[in-house]
Symmetry: D2
Subunit: 394 residues, 4 copies
Amino acid sequence: MSNKIPRSNDNDYSAEIISERQQFLEQQTGASLDHTRKFSFDPETMDGNCEHLFGVAQVPIGVAGPLLVNGEHAQGEFYVPLATIEGTLIASYNRGMRVIRESGGITTTICGEAMQRAPAFVFRTGREARDFSLWLKANFAEVKAQAESTTSVGKLVDIESYVYHNWVNTRFNYTTGDAAGQNMTGRATYVACEWISSNYPQLRHYMLSSNFDTEKKPSAVNSLGTRGRRVTAELTIPREVLQSVLRITPEQMAYGQTISLMSSYIAGSSSNAAHPVNGLAALYIATGQDAACVGEATQSTVYTYVDRRGDLYFSITLPALVMATYGGGTGLATQRECLELMGCYGKGKAHKLLEIAAATVVAGELSLGAATRRDKDTGKNEWVDAHETLGRNR
Amino acid sequence: MSNKIPRSNDNDYSAEIISERQQFLEQQTGASLDHTRKFSFDPETMDGNCEHLFGVAQVPIGVAGPLLVNGEHAQGEFYVPLATIEGTLIASYNRGMRVIRESGGITTTICGEAMQRAPAFVFRTGREARDFSLWLKANFAEVKAQAESTTSVGKLVDIESYVYHNWVNTRFNYTTGDAAGQNMTGRATYVACEWISSNYPQLRHYMLSSNFDTEKKPSAVNSLGTRGRRVTAELTIPREVLQSVLRITPEQMAYGQTISLMSSYIAGSSSNAAHPVNGLAALYIATGQDAACVGEATQSTVYTYVDRRGDLYFSITLPALVMATYGGGTGLATQRECLELMGCYGKGKAHKLLEIAAATVVAGELSLGAATRRDKDTGKNEWVDAHETLGRNR
Amino acid sequence: MSNKIPRSNDNDYSAEIISERQQFLEQQTGASLDHTRKFSFDPETMDGNCEHLFGVAQVPIGVAGPLLVNGEHAQGEFYVPLATIEGTLIASYNRGMRVIRESGGITTTICGEAMQRAPAFVFRTGREARDFSLWLKANFAEVKAQAESTTSVGKLVDIESYVYHNWVNTRFNYTTGDAAGQNMTGRATYVACEWISSNYPQLRHYMLSSNFDTEKKPSAVNSLGTRGRRVTAELTIPREVLQSVLRITPEQMAYGQTISLMSSYIAGSSSNAAHPVNGLAALYIATGQDAACVGEATQSTVYTYVDRRGDLYFSITLPALVMATYGGGTGLATQRECLELMGCYGKGKAHKLLEIAAATVVAGELSLGAATRRDKDTGKNEWVDAHETLGRNR
Amino acid sequence: MSNKIPRSNDNDYSAEIISERQQFLEQQTGASLDHTRKFSFDPETMDGNCEHLFGVAQVPIGVAGPLLVNGEHAQGEFYVPLATIEGTLIASYNRGMRVIRESGGITTTICGEAMQRAPAFVFRTGREARDFSLWLKANFAEVKAQAESTTSVGKLVDIESYVYHNWVNTRFNYTTGDAAGQNMTGRATYVACEWISSNYPQLRHYMLSSNFDTEKKPSAVNSLGTRGRRVTAELTIPREVLQSVLRITPEQMAYGQTISLMSSYIAGSSSNAAHPVNGLAALYIATGQDAACVGEATQSTVYTYVDRRGDLYFSITLPALVMATYGGGTGLATQRECLELMGCYGKGKAHKLLEIAAATVVAGELSLGAATRRDKDTGKNEWVDAHETLGRNR
């Protein structure tokens, strides 16, 4: 028997070819695909989302909430669907959402927007590279026109230039509406680069992506300059709420936060938050986001202090949240339903979804932040105990 | 109607309470959950994996392969299940696997193993902190005994100590068998810390997790010291294979790699690889791994050179791969089937799975690395074109 | 006897008070200051440069060169004075300068200029912070007028804004002529901030320096955005020159450079260059620069490759070179003479000096880069041997 | 006239050849070296410290103090010689030393010691590299014997191994007594590497220095693992002392410190301290240290908090202080006198000097930290004003 995966050039999403692949895999490997082959949607809707389709992962979804958001786009209470196989995760986020509700909700603000491609333009010398950086600035309008000729949605906002050695690293920064925009900006930037290549003869060559977009990984440039959207979520938690729900004082929280910040700095960590990606990965899977974008979304900073009234100010800035409410996997069967659960499917909804996501992250930070600090009085550690009670440690 | 999510204290995984939650959510939000409510497994199996369960995300799974691995644990050809909604992803990995096959397979090596908790021990002065670090070293045997009293699997290998200010940041490094081990090590370290706390009176207090474990985010300490497993995957690609399959020369690949490395260094990026998390997130979701661990797995380094015969040596080191074949979500319905597809379910299989994962990552790096470099001859860019042809750009 | 250092409120630079301090120190400590008290300049010229003056450090100066520079500002051969107590340093730089001469000189280019202060503006909420960042952009002209009212030389070029949490980190970027400009920009930014403070009532407070200028230490923002001047120095070294002078092939140099770059990236090092600060510290001390600025000047990147003819392209980008030819210590007795040795004293000379400095750095990189790689044929290591022969190891 | 720098193979430190070089330089450049040629020491003492000697930099030295140190090695009051041309620097450190005195002195602790060379060992594959790392661990005793055969002072304490790709980055960590030890460890490591090379046939080659020692630049590995000595200096400043001497409250200091720490973290800065290198560069020049080591010494962390009594705890950890009291430039004329001023010349004094240095750094941090925060009451900024009054801004 051939070891080649069956494939149909006519229609690779028909029931027949999918079934053929299932049988092939079962025969090749001896595994059974009893559950994996069970899905409720029309497989032809997967054309454009998944090649060599043979089944589905059934990832359980739980719900946390309601989450009270005082955003500019998300306003009111939301039920947040979280697809996860990690016990205690939803319970923990749910507890944090209670803190938020009892504090009067959480304020969310989109502070920046930029999806980018980062071509590198290479020259014979550094002097030529510097001169190009000046030319590029002077010719921005034409470059923008070229880039935007490829898309009705994407807008080229600016081009950052960094001159190193005999090349110029750039970031072509776009707004991309309700799409995540990685492909849209790839195409637009490619057309712009080809135009540049034709109009700047000294250019030796360019690389459309030099890894300076730092896609799907944390970086200094992403944090400083935004990737996707930059969102800040913040609230002031009354002392009594913190103590009654999380059994910790504002001073204990703030003290632990400083040690944690110092430790993150020393460790060379890309984030001083505890675990934004737990909630984000679960939300991304549930709502048809690109789960790999958790790679860049993990980057974040947390800042807290005890205010003059003795309450706790808490905020997180997420500089690289990449999410969409249109395109990609957002229209698929269960994914769309989960977006609709939050009123976030389709055009004009991306900012709303981003605010809910950032608010969700804070719920997780509050809950875990409190749990990991030692409870002197009881001699027990809530964090360990939660995993004993709810999780797979049993 | 109350806005409180329905919950049963008796059995929160019965069909009734799940149905009640579905109705509650539909009524509260106006959304329909027609697909989300359809799953093929017994919901009671989700106890310990997902609270407030109300349905599933159906994430399409395609297959790439066969992937020819010359590992110490994985040997032979494997079909790799990838759960993704990103068009072109599987096609791209599949192309990379062809390169690997035609090059005679890929060598994989587990180079390190360490799952950790990172308590911080705080003192009155830095001098006391320094003295404690010496005491901790001298009393390792007893600390180890305490930690290991909680687990039959986990072994405390060593404790790293970093003296800063008036505290000591530590990393308690364990091997954890076929489990990922975050909870196992949390519990073991907690017991060890309580013993330390009782036996070292000068200790003011400790934090069980000071963020120095840098869980689910990249960091210098993870890269230098391993988190989960450290895996290197490497191969030499004959010039003619590279040219025929990827239409690029070794020199072009190596040149582009250097610009990419420099750009990553300048950008303060946590990785100079292109996109390990694309393949890893898809594999993690398919096989019941904690998808949030993509946060730390994104960290990696790529190294290439053209050897004396004109072939391309390519290697990746992934210092923080956290994966399991036992516990967590690995035993769930579709997840277990996908593990079994690779012969990777259950005890004694973790190293095999890790080798397959690292090899998969290389397939994606080769394919995208070649595609993002400009094809001078045709004047077209493969990367952009692929998204036009296969993806959602259409 | 009082332990208080003698001080004169009338004139703290008279011979009498200096002598009194010398005697005080000798009596208090039992040390003799026979050499330290010997200087050839009028001590009153030190007013504004050194409080509590009691003598001088006599730091030996050697010379390396001639250094052949093909700059935009420095053109021709230069003799470079290096004040150092490190044996082999000058011999090593001198050897590198021979390589440069035999390669036809080195091309230097000033690619950027920005001395900055970095006030942080703090608000009640992140939403207010975001709104302020927009206001600041809209009101740049007035802020610029305020800042420039304090100086005839400094020009405010732009203000970078980074919105985090409830504050905005900014960098006020200036050109500062032939002065280094730290104080000039401090005063100008202070006046601008006071104006902002009066005109933006929602501002809670600001910090004139939030450490975001990262003065005297390497940082991502300095590298990306320039501090002082950004200079690239580059040359192509013919294969035969490299082999005859440094006894190494282009391929060996480039290979070693890649390992070194990877090692620097992995180590979390601020630079992949070998030792720019050796030459810079010696040049800074000789010419009256602020020696502490070595702290930021150490940051740099090196890029090399073997070109199609088999020669070695080598370049360094120094993004944070802070140097002056006017003000500070440049006018002092020996310091001015050393500047004049290179035709670099006074107004209009800063760019020339910066180009010579960057070219000097390359001389050191070439020499040490070749020496640290193992000489297989002889079984000896040049680097170790040099210290045996010339240095204090004897 | 030849452009070649005059040099004598017999004795390059005689009065004649030095005079010949002076004349050569004056003729070539038109500069006068009236002051530069004046030095009080015997030039032959410069053999081993400075090639191509032609004069001296006369760097003014002022004194700050007394500095009250409660160290393990430095105990009592010290007068600290600072060679600088930066106005206000000494006045600022002097003010900080007053705060320290009035607080009862400063506690200093040497928390680590490690001077290193960092050879990279390269293999055919990553699997071979991993195996070598195990062999190296098993054969440490023999490697140590080889290394220590070259020195009566240096001791090889341990070897860190980091397996990446097909090589192993190592750090050979030594104690080096009262010498800085860069050359001593270079020679010892070279001999050890040659032994390894002879005894491990699979080794393809090694690089004695792969830049993983990160000499003279900040890095994650230096901070985590120490370079030279790791010193913590700390004190608790009574509220009334802080307010009377620095006119700031503990709460203002701590608040500003947190913003500064966050800003440093965001900026990707190697240090959250304000300016350790100002004092260190001045002290290094005065006492014959390698001034370029400021490059690595700039790395540091500051931690503060307001304690329960309302006083301010302040500490700094300097993980990479490289200083000597023996060898290098420490025995030269003025340099030795300045060491003797602090009772720090010669053998057995290095730890004492390091403690004084770290304590000096804190004086500067306190003074500048207070000055840069805005004085709301007076509407003036002390930091700007100080430069107006004492510095070159006049």
